[in-house]
């Protein structure tokens, strides 16, 4: 029954989105604003129905309803409940349902909460959102029905990929999806505004919180995903430039650029066409990412069940939506008036530079991701790996971070370059000193990590400088948010640079009792012991570790064997210290009593994810600040309208 109810909800949601789309596009002309009263509840109801459908799927997974094909293929009654729960989106159909649900819920939220946007533009936005939803409902209903019953009911399910059986994974994909798909709102805003020719300050101010919201989730999702890969895959790396990672990085880069250009548009009414373009590009990147992963045209460790039929379906949707939006952009954007002019050395100028650099990085990542596809079409098979990505993107990223530090110190409209240089002289000197220090103390550190540290230190300082000379109690939350996010970026950069500059790695074939040295630690291998969990058994390597003369502690990296499906995974044991992490992995036995042990000492590696979280927290602060400001602004407007005496009069 639950499966049928879920499916029915999905069909109803699709029907509502069709209605919403039809009504919306019909009513988008100014003067038909009263139809908004119809379109709004439609969007909300559609979001609710999609949500119900997704809850039904979760219910089926929690119950392990083996009459449903998807549950049979991806779950097992012995699984811990958290992974039954997470199993609902650990597969193609379920994750697509989550995708559509986020899309519909985001549309519903816009209908419910957006009050600032011009009414006809809002109708256009909701119509655009419904148009996107409709395509993906069709994709679900016709090509990947998650609620399909299976003809025979097996004794038990086939289980979930053990790599996905991890608390991190329970929350990583939904977070990422909220960002990934949430950015669709910006896309719909852009399409709506292009149709009604409403690209301007009000439009930008209305769009900004939505972009910010999606961007926060995206940032969190990427940070969490990176940490998950780091501890779960047991390779000791935190970013692999895998097509799927790139698929989440590209929308983030575009959304970050958008976030900054929308600020220029909202405060100074400049960069109109560019902002609209970015809004279209950001969600296009999400859709292209989804397509790349689902169609199997790029090979990736993350690839779900690959099906060319599904691939062509999504490709069709993609061409329709992205092609349509870009065509609309090409036809309409020149009717958008030129925005306000500004000087090169100014806040706007630095934000343009930021956009330029982010776009260059975005293009490079996209080129690297798609390049194997291009060359293969001409018969050469290659793969583009981390060395290429690191080398080409790092110089631009470093430049970007430097200007990120300086930009907020500039005034809007125009500023004096010499003055800026004077302000940042101390941090810049500090950066040079850092570089010098590294060259002297650790001459064998490579150029890029060295530059990374030399940039991170001064930029961390610069990013705090907007607070200098302010009354900290009266500083708006928005400024705090910006400072936190920029500081987080510098922190993350410091972590990345330090990890690649100072990591130590030891690979030993150890017999019980053998002692190895790694960085400041001595590690004694005491032997391997069997361990069992709910649906796995494992060999755990017992290591007694001591840092210098400090206290001993035990680390237990495991080589796990999962029962359903039978898969071996490696569980790293990680010991976090204030200045880094000791990362240990147990490998194969050599059959003669010795075990392969892999030990890493990664100084300051945790900064990468602390920094990433700080960036997200900064976003959250800014969002709170915006919402509060908007609310108080609205209140004062209504106060005036109702003739209530202002605060001054009361005081």
């Amino acid at each position: 029954m639950i499966a049928e109810a879920g499916l029915a909800a999905l069909w109803f949601a699709a029907a509502l989105s069709l209605l919403q789309m039809g009504l919306g596009w019909a009513a988008v002309r100014p003067g038909n604003d009263n139809l908004l009263r119809l379109v709004r509840p439609l969007a909300v109801a559609q979001g609710l129905l999609a949500g119900i459908s997704f809850l039904a799927l979760i219910w089926l997974f929690l119950e392990t309803d083996l009459s449903v094909k998807l549950v049979v293929a991806n779950s097992h009654s012995d699984k811990p409940w958290l992974y039954k729960f997470a199993g609902a989106w650990g597969n193609h159909e379920g994750s697509m349902l989550l995708w559509v649900t986020v899309l519909a819920v985001a549309g519903g939220a816009v209908a419910l909460l957006e009050r600032k946007l011009r009414k006809d533009t809002l109708i256009g936005t909701l119509a655009a959102q419904a148009t996107i939803s409709l395509g993906f409902y069709a994709f679900l209903l016709f090509a990947s029905n998650p609620f399909e019953r299976s003809p025979v009911i097996p004794i038990d399910g086939q289980g979930l990929n053990p790599l996905l059986q991890d608390p991190g994974l329970a929350f990583h994909p939904p977070t990422l999806y909220f960002g990934y798909v949430g950015i669709s709102v910006a896309f719909s805003f852009a399409v709506g505004a292009l149709v009604t020719r409403d690209v301007g300050r009000d439009f930008a101010q209305a769009m900004r919180p939505w972009v910010l919201g999606a961007w926060i989730f995206l940032t969190l999702g990427i940070t969490a995903g990176s940490y998950w890969a780091y501890y779960e895959l047991g390779w000791g790396g935190w970013w692999f430039w895998d097509p799927v990672e790139n698929a989440s990085l590209m929308p983030w880069l575009a959304a970050t650029a958008l976030l900054h250009s929308v600020t220029v548009l909202a405060t100074r009414d400049a960069l109109r066409a560019w902002t609209v373009m970015l809004a279209v590009v950001a969600f296009s990147m999400s859709m292209i990412g989804t397509f790349l992963v689902r169609s199997g045209i790029l090979t990736s460790v993350h690839a779900f069940a690959v099906d060319p039929q599904r691939g062509s379906f999504i490709l069709m949707l993609l061409c329709l939506y992205i092609g349509g939006a870009l065509a609309l952009f090409a036809l309409r954007v020149s009717t958008v008036r030129e925005g306000a002019p500004f000087r090169v050395v100014s806040r706007e100028g630095s934000l343009v530079l930021n956009n330029l650099l982010l776009t260059i990085i975005l293009c490079l990542v996209m080129l690297g991701t798609l390049y194997p596809l291009l060359t293969e079409a001409f018969g050469t098979k290659i793969s583009v790996g981390p060395p290429w990505f690191n080398t080409v993107s790092a110089p631009f990223a470093l430049l970007l971070v430097i200007f990120m530090g300086m930009g907020p110190l500039l005034k809007w409209r125009k500023d004096d370059g010499n003055k800026l240089l004077k302000r940042v002289a101390v941090p810049l000197l500090l950066g040079a000193a850092t570089a010098l220090l590294i060259v002297i103390v650790a001459p064998d550190v490579h150029l890029l990590p060295m530059l990374g540290l030399a940039v991170a230190v001064p930029v961390a300082l610069m990013s705090l400088m907007p607070l200098v000379g302010r009354n900290l109690r009266r500083t708006p939350l928005i400024i705090w948010g910006m400072v936190a996010a920029h500081f987080g970026i510098a922190m993350s950069l410091a972590g990345m640079a330090s990890e690649s500059a100072f990591s130590k790695e030891v690979l030993v074939s150890a017999r019980p009792g053998q002692v190895s040295e790694i960085g400041p630690f001595t590690v004694r291998f005491d032997g391997a012991e069997p361990v069992a969990g709910q649906n796995w058994t494992a060999i755990a390597g017992r290591m007694t570790v001591r840092r210098g003369e400090g206290e001993e502690f035990v680390m237990l990296p495991e080589a796990r064997m999962f029962s359903d499906p039978v898969t071996a995974t490696s569980e790293a044991a990680i010991e976090t210290h204030w200045d880094g992490q000791l990362y240990t992995v147990i490998g194969e036995p050599d059959g003669q009593g010795a075990w392969q042990l892999r030990l890493w000492w990664k100084p300051a590696v945790t900064l990468i994810w602390f920094g990433g979280s700080l960036v997200a927290i900064g976003g959250l602060l800014a969002l709170l600040g915006r919402v509060m400001r908007r609310r108080s602004a609205r209140k004062s407007v209504t106060d005036e309208a109702e003739g209530v005496p202002g605060r001054e009069a009361l005081a």
Partner: protein
């Protein structure tokens, strides 16, 4: 493939050009006026064209899934120089000098401790029965184990060389056991088969061997 690229570029050109022509021909039409009002500049179509290009590639890739097989870089390269001592007392060693004498040969990388090698043994026997000369390279193995393995699963080999430290294996770019190479009459590596030879691989292998003969 090239057709597709040309087609998508043409499409954009035709769209833009067609629109310009429409404006000339029907200056009074409402739809054209609506489009013309937008004062379209060709440069604004660049993102669309780029996207269509990528879409074209993707469509091509979807319709031709291609093989996901990774080819060795050494294919088309000359077999490097080596001499492996005989792995069994009564057999001949495997030497570079025996290759490239006008006749193609196969090199089979195997080991008695390798389970997939047992799976491919019947197929190797069949290849040998068809008259294909197969030289074996035994990786990190002991003579008595090799003799037992060949006694149990059949012996399709001409010569058997012992690669005790897997040096030849590394030199010819083999990543594991079992693997099979085809070397043509000129001593050039023509084909690499990674993993056990399944019955379904037989046609391909025989074909490749015949190709190497030419």
């Amino acid at each position: 493939m090239k057709l597709l690229i040309i087609a998508s570029i043409l499409l954009v050109v035709v769209l833009v050009g067609g629109f310009a022509a429409l404006r000339r021909l029907y200056p009074d039409s409402k739809a054209v006026a609506w489009l013309a009002e937008s004062k379209t500049r060709p440069i604004l179509f660049v993102p669309l064209a780029l996207f269509l290009l990528i879409g074209g590639f993707a469509a091509y890739k979807l319709s031709n899934p291609g093989d996901t097989f990774i080819r060795s870089r050494l294919i088309g390269k000359e077999l490097p120089a080596f001499t492996l001592p005989e792995a069994l007392p009564n057999r001949l060693p495997v030497r570079r000098a025996d290759f490239g004498r006008g006749e193609p040969r196969m090199i089979n990388i195997f080991a008695s401790w390798c389970v997939p090698c047992i799976a491919e043994a019947p197929q190797l026997m069949e290849l040998a029965r068809r008259g294909i000369p197969i030289d074996a390279v035994a990786i990190r193995d002991r003579p008595e184990d090799i003799a037992r393995f060949l006694g149990q699963w059949g012996d399709p080999y001409r010569n058997i060389g012992a690669d005790r430290d897997a040096s030849l294996q590394l030199a010819i770019g083999s990543s594991g056991v079992p693997e099979t190479y085809i070397v043509d009459g000129g001593g050039i590596i023509r084909y690499q088969h990674i993993g056990a030879i399944n019955p379904s691989d037989m046609t391909r292998l025989t074909e490749e061997f015949e190709k190497a003969r030419r």
